[in-house]
């Protein structure tokens, strides 16, 4: 039963990893930009959530209503103001610039919030659980997983059934021809980054309710996000969810064997999958 429990808890944890990864996947899919600062944006989302909850006395989940639009706005301005200028044939400039952003965000957070670990207070939600066939499921992990599924489903629907999604796919296919269709790629990229950071805000707040956080943890979240995207296969959102689940299950099973093995087990499974299936399990982008 302990092992079943580990698998179930790992699956639910995978929902959070999928949320880490969704924004990363979206940005790479639309504009082939690898955002090294993605993990730090997750942490920024958590801190913005912390500020909103402490200043306004709101529940963290209600704070989403403010933090998601705020992060989306940051994303749009950042893309139009800085990142668009780095995009081109050379893939190095966006890597360097987002690496620089990562350093700036970390130090900015350190300056404003200090290095002390923080945590958001979500009241009874944090400890509430429901029994299920001998297992005890935390309400928060179940809710997180549900949100992850809903976010992935919404992104999938947006991508394949709306005019905006069509514009994203067309711009991703061929930027010049998309311009000929009257699509301003700078604006489209701005919208994609806004959407990605909106999702990132959700990930950040759920992270901040689940565990304590400090300005330095962004790098680790970036790695989990990367691993979920790569395991699932580039360009496939449902694959990203499955990638997150595989990573989450590997970590909880690793922790079950030996608590020190939690992260290592995740990385080993990631490397094993990469060795057997270099394009991930369900790749959609063939390059």
């Amino acid at each position: 039963m302990d092992w079943v429990n580990a698998v179930v808890q790992g699956t639910l944890l995978g929902g959070l990893y999928a949320l880490f990864a969704a924004g990363l996947s979206l940005i790479f899919g639309v504009m082939r930009l690898v955002n090294i600062a993605h993990g730090d944006f997750i942490v920024l989302g958590a801190y913005l959530g912390l500020s909103v909850t402490t200043l306004l006395g709101l529940h963290p989940l209600v704070a989403l209503l403010l933090v998601v639009p705020a992060m989306a706005l940051i994303g749009y301005v950042l893309q139009r103001g800085i990142l668009n200028q780095t995009l081109g044939k050379d893939i190095l400039p966006p890597l360097l610039v987002t690496f620089g952003l990562s350093v700036i965000i970390q130090n900015g957070l350190l300056e404003v919030y200090s290095a002390d670990p923080q945590k958001m207070n979500a009241g009874a939600l944090e400890t509430a659980s429901v029994p299920l066939g001998g297992l005890s499921l935390g309400v928060l992990p179940v809710l997180t997983f549900g949100i992850a599924v809903a976010v992935i489903a919404s992104l999938q629907w947006m991508f394949y059934s709306t005019a905006l999604g069509r514009a994203f796919r067309a711009t991703s296919d061929n930027q010049e021809i998309a311009q000929l269709m009257g699509l301003n790629r700078r604006h489209i990229f701005g919208l994609a980054m806004a959407l990605a950071l909106g999702v990132t805000a959700i990930a950040g707040i759920l992270l901040g309710i689940r565990t304590s956080f400090d300005p330095s943890i962004g790098g680790g979240r970036l790695i989990f996000g990367f691993e979920a995207v790569i395991i699932g296969g580039l360009g496939n959102l449902w694959g990203t969810l499955i990638g997150g689940v595989i990573l989450g299950v590997a970590q909880t099973i690793g922790a079950k064997i030996d608590p020190g093995w939690q992260l290592l087990a995740g990385h080993i499974v990631f490397l094993a999958i990469l060795a057997v299936r270099p394009n991930g399990l369900f790749p959609r982008i063939n390059e």
Binding site: A170, A178, Q179, L180, M181
Partner: protein, 235 residues
């Protein structure tokens, strides 16, 4: 001659690092079909890129219905009412046939062309509308590329090498459809390797040679030896 819809004056344009066009002057009248002919490397594609905004130049080098559009981006030029059927068709592979057409129409200009009008012109596309655009034959892909440009309801449509790489029978079909496409007061600029085809559908032509206009005139009356001289630059 009526007021030109498109006027190009003194256009110097660059293809990557080298100059491809030198002081081009060119006019397209309202409702006119103009052919651009010339050998490979004569500057035809750079001319198309300059008109459509994919290559940005000085503002007053290209005037469209009185607006100076030479320095605008391609998306801004598209909104003004110029659509390009690009060389090699360049459909969006991630989009279905119908989505390729819809994205051409998302610019929201009013006019006679809609999804149903395009399907009426090319019925095969309606049958194939849910397929990936890359699964179609070359001729059908060209129909999608033309339909996609028409969906924007442009005032001026640019055709860049529409017969390139297609079977002669398909080329014949596409040229047979052209008059129905270019009716309704739309003006057209056709770049074509096949001189006979180009002259047969156009009222006037310009011949480019090494980035300069080497000959222009009425398509119906031009002598073939004049064209050969202007095309190849041999006496």
């Amino acid at each position: 001659m009526p007021e030109p819809i498109l006027k190009i004056s003194g256009l110097d344009a660059f293809y990557e690092d080298f100059q491809a066009l030198y002081g081009i002057d060119l006019e397209v009248a309202q409702g006119e079909v103009l052919a651009i002919i010339g050998a490979n490397g004569a500057g035809k594609t750079t001319l198309m890129r300059s008109i459509s905004g994919l290559t940005q130049n000085k503002a007053d080098m290209v005037t469209f219905r009185g607006d100076r559009i030479g320095a605008l981006r391609a998306d801004e030029v598209a909104e003004k009412g110029i659509a390009l059927v690009p060389e090699g068709r360049q459909l969006f592979p991630s989009l279905s046939v119908e989505e390729n057409l819809l994205i051409g129409g998302q610019i929201g200009r009013k006019g006679p062309w809609s999804l149903s009008a395009v399907y009426e012109l090319f019925p095969i596309l309606q049958e194939r509308r849910n397929q990936q655009s890359t699964s179609l034959s070359g001729g059908q892909q060209q129909m999608v590329a033309i339909g996609r440009a028409l969906m924007a309801n442009p005032d001026l449509i640019l055709f860049d090498e529409i017969s390139l790489g297609l079977a002669p029978i398909i080329i014949k079909d596409i040229y047979a459809a052209l008059p129905g496409i270019i009716g309704e007061g739309m003006s057209a600029l056709i770049v074509e390797q096949d001189i006979t085809k180009a002259l047969s559908v156009s009222q006037r032509f310009y011949c480019l040679q090494e980035g300069r206009v080497s000959l222009e005139g009425a398509s119906a009356t031009v002598a073939r030896e004049d064209i050969s001289r202007a095309y190849f630059g041999v006496e």
